[in-house]
């Protein structure tokens, strides 16, 4: 197995009296697509935000790309930050920039390339995530929910990072577009060796592209492994999720050879 590039050990995160993560450990090897599942409010977004250093942890350690969050100097950590892309659950696009400017934001800061190339690559990304050239000049407030997701994904991918953290990339999209996005993520993983940390509720995505799935409950990872392991898991929530009505339907489809 490839070397792990995201390592979290014994994480504890609480807000006041509410302990959200309680001794959670997780590691993600390079080039893997990890799907993180869990009930609403179980702390998936909090885990993601803790890994990228936005939420302070009360215990434990996080290291990304070989750099430890606590002992790294500001410059070291910033260098790590430039090597990942993040898709926030609510998009978090810069509201005073157009979609195209949002995508170009990091390119402009970090790369020494001509405006023309920047425009072309940004337009390419825009189309890769399924937006049309006409959307390039729109402002975030003029986008639909699904379009916001796509634009945010394009921004996360703007400089071809090594890791992407995606918080529900396919929620709010129609199933066909969701499938296309899954394809795109898979392609990028194959070509760029992209590592993907993906929070999702989308069973289809889990089956289609995730190499491994981790389920969060009670502030811990309660089940962890490829889909086949999840189907056999004992934890009641995991069982209900993968062996519920919708889960069973998909599982049955996968077990039968395609027609």
């Amino acid at each position: 197995m490839a070397e792990p590039i995201i390592i979290a050990k014994d994480l504890e995160v609480s807000f006041g009296n509410n302990t959200v993560l309680d001794g959670l450990s997780l590691s993600v090897p390079r080039g893997e697509i990890l799907g993180v599942v869990g009930a609403s409010g179980s702390g998936k977004s909090v885990l993601l935000r803790t890994l990228i250093g936005l939420v302070a942890k009360t215990r434990g350690s996080v290291s990304v790309l070989g750099v430890d969050q606590d002992s790294a100097s500001e410059e070291e950590w910033q260098a790590v930050e430039r090597r990942w892309g993040v898709l926030f659950q609510r998009g978090a696009l810069f509201s005073s920039l157009t979609v195209l400017q949002n995508i170009q934001f990091l390119m402009r800061e970090t790369l020494d390339i001509s405006q023309e190339l920047m425009d072309e690559v940004a337009m390419a990304k825009l189309e890769m995530v399924g937006l049309t050239p006409a959307d390039a000049t729109k402002f975030p407030s003029e986008l639909s929910g699904g379009m916001t997701k796509r634009a945010a994904l394009a921004r996360a991918l703007s400089i071809d990072p090594e890791i992407v953290f995606l918080d529900e990339p396919t929620s709010g999209l129609d199933p066909i577009s969701a499938g296309e996005l899954d394809e795109l993520i898979k392609t990028l993983q194959k070509t760029l060796g992209l590592t993907v940390f993906m929070v999702t509720h989308d069973l289809e995505s889990l089956y289609a592209i995730c190499d491994r799935v981790a389920a969060i409950a009670d502030g811990k990872i309660v089940a962890d492994g490829p889909i086949s392991t999840m189907l056999k898991a004992k934890h009641p929530w995991v069982k209900a999720y993968f062996r519920g009505q919708r889960g069973n339907l998909l599982a049955a489809q996968r077990e039968q050879p395609a027609l």
């Binding site: 390339i113 190339l117 189309e127 050239p133 070509t191």
Partner: protein, 378 residues
């Protein structure tokens, strides 16, 4: 590793053979772009071009696009570029990139400075009319809401009004007292300093008394309130507007004007006279302290002199203006908030405009009142 050449070329009997190597990634995109640009001249003379990609170890969408761009440019000129030995895992990305940017982008329309200037001038003129209309509109909406609430006074949001009063009146007192105290002191000091030359220091007290009670007290307080509360109303209501909270309220059957704006505007209208009174008293106190410490006039003399010259009319002139100014500030703040669009930038812009406009309006109002009082002779 960076020693590996990104691009080498061999030109041989009309065939241009390019060999790619190293990392064709975002990091090297600038360099690659220049290298490819430099090949253009040779390419013009070549009958066919081939590019060998087998040496490329890293490949991302920047590299893929540069390769695709080369292919398309060459195709547009009627030639053919063959991509050879692209590593297996990179085919997917190149295929993906092949599908995009097919429609040529339209060039942005060129603008001429003269036309732009004219357009801006015209828009500026039109916006004055718009502003007036908006102000009238908001005034109308608030009045309608006010009368409607009068009809069923039990529904009135008293808690909200009290809460707003707490914010804009009670919490504003310390800063207002501090500022007006200083202003009163400064006026007294300047008065004493200049009148002393004529041996007419006593008139400094007249100056402080009349100026503060009629004009300065209410103006300073109104300007402070516009900066402090008007701006926060615009920011608050504007961000609710931005996040569709106001739409949500409306669809639940509430009238946003009645629920959000009426209590706020009313609170300002009530708060301003109170604050003006407190501010004016603080200014008189400040003047008194300076007169005592700097001018050597005892507090008794100061008070006696003030009560000689100040009449009820002076007091009325100052106080009557206050509620109107409060109303104007509140209405501008609400009208401006309604213009906030989706972006954080527009929220900031409208908040600034709200403050500038309400201060302007306060001063214009003061001018109109001055004309009015002069013509009725008080």
């Amino acid at each position: 590793m960076s020693g590996e050449a990104l691009l080498t070329s061999r030109f041989d009997e009309g065939v241009l053979a390019l060999t790619a190597g190293g990392a064709w990634t975002a990091r090297n995109a600038g360099e690659l772009e220049r290298l490819l640009e430099a090949q253009r001249e040779d390419a013009g003379a070549a009958k066919s071009i081939s590019i060998d990609m087998s040496g490329v170890r890293e490949f991302d969408s920047f590299g893929a696009w540069l390769l695709e761009r080369l292919t398309r440019e060459w195709q547009a000129e009627g030639g053919k570029l063959t991509v050879e030995r692209l590593p297996e895992q990179d085919h997917g990305l190149l295929a993906e990139i092949r599908q995009v940017n097919q429609t040529p982008r339209e060039q942005p329309r060129r603008s001429t400075p003269l036309l732009d200037g004219l357009a801006r001038f015209g828009r500026g003129g039109a916006s004055v009319l718009d502003d007036t209309a908006e102000f009238a509109n908001m005034l109308g909406a608030i009045s309608v809401a006010g009368f409607r609430v009068l009809g069923r006074i039990r529904n009135f949001r008293l808690t909200s009004l009290v809460n707003q009063l707490d914010r804009v009146a009670w919490h504003a007192i310390p800063i207002i007292v501090l500022i007006t105290l200083l202003i009163g002191g400064i006026i007294a000091q300047q008065g004493i300093f200049h009148f002393r030359r004529f041996g007419a220091e006593d008139y400094a007290i007249d100056l402080v008394g009349v100026l503060v009670i009629r004009e300065v007290g209410v103006l300073i307080v109104a300007i402070m309130v516009a900066g402090r509360s008007g701006s926060s109303y615009t920011a608050e209501l504007g961000s609710m507007m931005m996040r569709e909270e106001i739409d949500a309220l409306r669809t639940m059957g509430f009238n946003p004007v009645e629920v959000l704006m009426l209590p706020r505007v009313l609170a300002l209208t009530l708060a301003l006279p109170v604050l003006t009174f407190i501010g004016s008293m603080a200014a008189l106190l400040g003047g008194g302290i300076v007169a005592w410490v700097y001018g050597g006039m005892s507090p008794d003399i100061y008070i006696a002199r003030l009560s000689d010259i100040l009449t009820v009319d002076h007091f009325k002139v100052g106080m009557i203006k206050a509620p109107f100014m409060g109303l104007a500030i509140g209405i501008v703040a609400c009208a401006q908030a309604m213009k906030v669009k989706g972006s954080a930038e527009s929220l900031g812009l409208q908040t600034t405009i709200s403050v500038v406009k309400s201060i302007f309006l306060v001063i214009v109002l003061d001018g109109f009142f001055a004309i009015f009082f002069a013509s009725i002779g008080i």
